[in-house]
Every structure is written in structure tokens, then in C-alpha cells.
């Protein structure tokens, strides 16, 4: 493995903040573009680019309603924790050759831990407002999340096998010749399913879904809603960056500098997730759990087998 540059603490904070701010904004714009293009509405570039800022401005002037007897600590903690976990997940992902905010030897396990903790934060969001639909949505989310949590760890460990290291930097390094998306063809699709689940979008929009009147966000307004949407987009960034680094070869690519490749690949995954969010109908939780244990988990085992055989 090459020299890895550990960023100094102040620089690291700036880098992570910049990645998240830019990423969240871009991801929100992607949402607008996806929605409008699928809905067949007019799409003016300037208007779409300013859309998230306008929404943020409006929500910041709206009242944040306090529900009756909320669990106030957890209500505040939920978006903050989700945002913080997204930031933590971003720190272990190398952004360009040799530049990673925190070069942790067990980076991929840390990412998995952040993902598991994100489920806790999301449950808090459903639990805290003391509202039946939010609680049902949060509960349902957790029940489903437990069935893809295992999946995600198998998929990530599978990617770590050819690298012979748990560090994401080493995993990127190992893809110099062949990207994991080809080496382990099942890995990326399964990981994208997990991403859709943890960012509760598209077929796995089981948290803030319309069939429960907004589900976990049913009581959110104003800043609370803005914070939650921001945190959700931040989580999408973390997953997109991880998918780009672990499966799409990270900074590897011809001509362009490595950092730019990483950004492009991350953006591609964000765009894919954004369009899937708009384009795919929600699947019932019961059915997904059946599919997750009966089909997806065996596929993850198969993926692990492919990775193991490939490493021999």
C-alpha cells in the first residue's frame, strides 16, 4: 500500500464538512431533477439548482411543532446522530489516492458499525415524537433493517477478501486491475439494496412512507424536517462514496485525476439512488423480509463464495 496521508484534525473537519455540504446539496438537486423528469414537469436548470436552498429557507422560517410528551432528547438526537454517523462513515473512505481523513485499519468494519448505529438513529426518529404512525413506521423499519443488516456485512467482507485487509484504502488499492463490480458481480446490487434501505428510499421507503401519512416524519415540521432530510441525504452520500470506493474502483480510472474519478463515481451512485427513489414503488415490508432472508442472503453467501474462490 502506498503512503497514506493522514489529514491534520482541523483540515479533516473542513474536508468532511465540505464533502457533506456539497454532497447533500447535490443529492437534493438530484432528487428534484429525478422527480420532475419522471413527472414530466418543466425542468429549468437554474430553478432546479436553487430548489434545495429555497426549500431550506422556507422550512427554516416554519415552526417546529412540539408534539405532546415527546422524547425530546432522542428527538433532537436522531437527526444529529444520523448526520454524525454519515460524517464518521465518510472519514474512513479514501477520497483520492493516499488521502483519507482517518486511515483506520478496520475501516470497513467501522463503516458497518456506523450503518448499524444509523438504524438506531432512524428508530429514534420514529420513536421520539410519541405518535402512533411514527412509532409503527420506526418499528417496521427496524424489523426490516435487521434482515438486510447481515447482508451488508457479508457483502462488505466479501469485498475485503481480495484486498486481504479491512482498510477501505487497501480495498481500493486491490482494484487496480479489476474492479470489484466485475470481480464480485453480486456485491454492488446487494449493497445498493442495503443503501436504499438505510436511506429509506424507493422500494424500501418503509420509514417516511405515504401509506402511513408520512411515517416517521409524520410529526416533523420546520427545522426538524429540514434536519432530518439533510441527515438522510448525508447518509446517502456516505453509502454512495462507499459503493464507489469498494465496488467501483475508487480513484482508479484513466486520464482524470483520482479525486475527480472518485467524485464522479460517487455522483453516479447518488444519481442512481435518486432515480430509484422516484421510480420504484414501495414493496411491502413482509414481502421484503421474506425475499431478504430467502433470496438475498443466499446470494450474499454466493457472493462470499465467489470472493473466496477468486482469492485462492
Amino acid at each position: 500500500m502506498n503512503e497514506v496521508e493522514q489529514l491534520s484534525a482541523p483540515l479533516a473537519i473542513v474536508v468532511v464538512a465540505a464533502v457533506l455540504v456539497v454532497g447533500v446539496y447535490v443529492s437534493s438537486v438530484v432528487d428534484v431533477v429525478a422527480f420532475r423528469s419522471v413527472a414530466g414537469q418543466r425542468l429549468r436548470p437554474g430553478s432546479a439548482a436553487l430548489f434545495p436552498a429555497r426549500v431550506a429557507h422556507r422550512l427554516s422560517r416554519q415552526q417546529s411543532v412540539r408534539t405532546e410528551r415527546p422524547d425530546m432528547i432522542l428527538r433532537v438526537l436522531a437527526p444529529a446522530a444520523l448526520l454524525g454517523l454519515a460524517a464518521a462513515a465518510v472519514t474512513v473512505i479514501p477520497l483520492s489516492p493516499g488521502i483519507v481523513v482517518a486511515d483506520v485499519g478496520t475501516g470497513i468494519v467501522l463503516f458497518g458499525a456506523a450503518e448499524a448505529l444509523a438504524i438506531v438513529a432512524i428508530f429514534f426518529h420514529g420513536w421520539s415524537p410519541n405518535s402512533p404512525f411514527a412509532l409503527i413506521a420506526g418499528y417496521r423499519f427496524v424489523a426490516v433493517a435487521l434482515s438486510y443488516e447481515l447482508l451488508s456485512m457479508f457483502v462488505l467482507i466479501g469485498a475485503a477478501i481480495p484486498a486481504e485487509s479491512l482498510s477501505i484504502g487497501a480495498i481500493v488499492e486491490s482494484q487496480a486491475g479489476l474492479w470489484n463490480v466485475i470481480r464480485q458481480p453480486l456485491g454492488l446490487p446487494l449493497f445498493l439494496i442495503v443503501s436504499l434501505g438505510v436511506t429509506f428510499s424507493g422500494p424500501l421507503d418503509l420509514l417516511d412512507s405515504n401509506d402511513l401519512a408520512g411515517g416517521g416524519s409524520v410529526e416533523d415540521s420546520g427545522m426538524q424536517r429540514l434536519a432530518w432530510q439533510t441527515a438522510r441525504h448525508a447518509m446517502r452520500i456516505a453509502f454512495a462514496a462507499c459503493a464507489a470506493a469498494v465496488f467501483l474502483g475508487g480513484w482508479h480510472g484513466p486520464v482524470l485525476p483520482g479525486g475527480l474519478w472518485m467524485a464522479l463515481k460517487t455522483f453516479a451512485v447518488i444519481a442512481l439512488l435518486g432515480f430509484l427513489d422516484v421510480f420504484v414503488a414501495r414493496i411491502s415490508a413482509e414481502r421484503f423480509v421474506r425475499v431478504a432472508w430467502g433470496v438475498l442472503l443466499p446470494l450474499a453467501f454466493l457472493n462470499l463464495l465467489i470472493a473466496g474462490v477468486g482469492a485462492l
Binding site: 410528551r69 422524547d71 432528547i73 432522542l74 483506520v104 485499519g105 478496520t106 468494519v109 467501522l110 458497518g112 458499525a113 448499524a116 448505529l117 438504524i119 438506531v120 428508530f123 429514534f124 420513536w127 410519541n130 418499528y139 427496524v142 424489523a143 433493517a145 435487521l146 443488516e149 456485512m153 479491512l166
Partner: protein
Amino acid sequence: MIDVAFVVFSVAAVASGYGVFRVDSMIRATYLLLASFLNVGAILVLLLAEYLGVALLFMMTVEMIVMGLFMVMFMMNPAGLNPMNMVHQPRFAAAAGVVAAAGVAVVAVFADFPVAPVDAESATTRELGIELLGGSMLVFESIGVTLLATMVCSVILSSATGRFGDGYEGSVAPALEPGGDHRPADDLYDPDAAGGMDMDMDMGDMDHGEMDMGGMDMGGMDMGGMDMGGMDHGEMDMGGMDMGDMDHGGMERDS
């Protein structure tokens, strides 16, 4: 720097651990326990057991998610909105806690342990991996098999249906008196829904069982204790599985 971090994590671990048993809301209790684990995980990382710390973080998070689910499911008052007192023998318990802590603390302060710190340069994660798939492979594999057995046991225990249909049908536990109903009169459960559960006997052992879990009652877990004979004779359901025997098997072996 490391010392400061250690103090912070330690205080947080103990304080959130104390909070677990003081808050009203079950969800807060569950996740305070998780916070305690996270802090211990952080201390483990400080101790250079990087993989173990992160794995503890990961594992306990998922475990506490499950625990939170059960909390909300089984507790009558999970949010703690209705104030109630859910403790018993508080003085005895507090005294026992202090005695236990003091016991360990005395050992910590006065015992003379060898000084052999871990080498800061060593690749502990790598060493652990080689050890698990090398010298300690038997231990590692035993853990795996035990966990598998645990999964089977817990599914059978918690499922309402046995191999031959509804667990409440099938074999009926013997009555306490000849000809009498085996269920105590003050029982809450629905007479139609009961029957097969040999709970009278189980419950007696249950308290021990719960306690034994701390000390890992492995004997009770092994397949030999699990009345396989009853299974073959077509009585395998919640009743036929006879948890009573299972625990007795374990107990005899222990004593």
C-alpha cells in the same frame, strides 16, 4: 491525550451504565446500555484491540436494536410515561452491587499482576485473525457451532408451532394431582391456548436458567440435554421438547 480520552470514556461508560437502571423509558435504558458498550468499545480501541473495539460496537448495536424491539413489545409501559416502580429488593441489590464492585476493585488495587504491555507497533488485528484460524481454531469453531445451536434452540423455544403442528396441542403436561388440571388456579392464561407447555417444571428452573446464563450454562445447551428421544417419538412440540429435562441435564453436569 490517551489518558484524557480514557477518563472520558470510562466516566461515560459507568454513568450511562448507571442510567440504564434509573431511567423510566425502556428505550432510553436500552440505548444507554448501548452507549455504555460503545464507550467500552472505545476503551478497547485505546487498549490497541482495534478490531475487538469496533466489532463490539457493531455487534452490540445490532444486539441492542433487537433488545429495544423486545422492550417495546413486552413492556406494559415502554416509554415510561406512566410512572411506576419496577424494582424489588433495592437495598439488597445495591449492597450486592457494591460488594461485587469492591471485590473486583480490591483485586485490582492489591493484586500483583505481571507487567507485560502489548507492543504498540504490533498488528493486533492481523495476529487475532491468524490466531483464530490457527491455534485457536477449535475455540473459534466451537463458538460458531454453539451459536448455531443457540439459533436452533431460540427458534424452537420462541415459536408457537412445533414440528407436528400447534405447540399448544400435542402432548399435555402431567397434572400436579392425579386427575387434576396441571395449571394453577390463579393462572392468567387462556385455557384453550395452553396445554402442551410443560411450564410448571420449566418455570422452577427458569430462575436458575436466567442466572446461569451469566455463567454460561453450556451444559444445558448441548444437544444431549435436549431430549432427542421425545422428538423421535412424535412428541416434538413445545411440550415434547421438555425444557425441564434440558435444564436438569445441564444442572446435573454442573454439580
